[in-house]
């Protein structure tokens, strides 16, 4: 049974028509001992075909350790979003519910190669001198 219903797919496909440049989803998963890895992978496998500008790469977290290190992925299920390059956007856990809406927004912003932030926010961020790591703790429901 697919996770995305036909009407969901239609709505998502329309939403993704706003994509400009390609975006790649990089999923880290494993077969065993990961509660929602399969669900995450299935969701991404259903999502990726809904735009020809969206692609998906799946890595085994335990085997493809160099890729996990490259992206700094330390837990799974993990989804890394790559636009023109890795901009540091990751989703840990199943990107379902509200998180699915966030995922689509992030895909669209990366695809436009534009954060969409207000000019004042851009100025403040341009003045940053040291790394800022944000972890936004959420619940998907």
């Amino acid at each position: 049974v697919p996770l995305l219903r036909e009407e969901d797919r239609t709505a998502i496909r329309q939403r993704l028509e706003g994509m400009v440049q390609p975006v790649r989803l990089v999923n880290f998963t494993q077969e065993l001992e990961c509660a929602h890895c399969r669900e995450t992978r299935t969701l991404l496998e259903e999502l990726a075909p809904l735009s020809d500008k969206l692609s998906l790469t799946v890595h085994n977290f335990q085997i493809d350790t160099s890729e996990a290190e490259k992206y700094g992925v330390d837990k799974i299920p993990a989804t890394v979003l790559v636009g023109d390059r890795d901009r540091g956007v990751r989703f840990y856990g199943v990107p379902a519910g509200y998180e699915f809406a966030s995922l689509l927004e992030a895909i669209l912003a990366l695809s436009r190669r534009d954060s969409g932030l207000a000019p004042a926010s851009r100025e403040k961020l341009a003045a940053l001198a040291a790394p800022v790591h944000l972890q936004v703790i959420v619940t998907p429901t």
Partner: protein, 64 residues
């Protein structure tokens, strides 16, 4: 913010999937933003206010 700045990385973390992190960061309500492991911003704030809180948390507020 992560898309805008190369110095910013942003992880969306599902509290239900990673309960140890919810405990580690004393999450009682969501969204809770953890800034550089040490500071917290609670709630969904408008963009400008959220960015200011994040920068304050990082001890990096531009212009002081």
């Amino acid at each position: 913010m992560a898309i805008e700045s190369d110095l910013v990385t942003a992880d969306m973390v599902d509290a239900a999937e990673f309960p140890h992190l919810a405990v580690k960061y004393a999450v009682h309500g969501v969204p809770r933003t953890v800034v550089n492991e040490v500071a917290f911003v609670d709630g969904a704030l408008p963009e400008a206010g959220y960015l200011d809180e994040v920068l304050k948390g990082a001890g990096l507020a531009a212009g002081g």
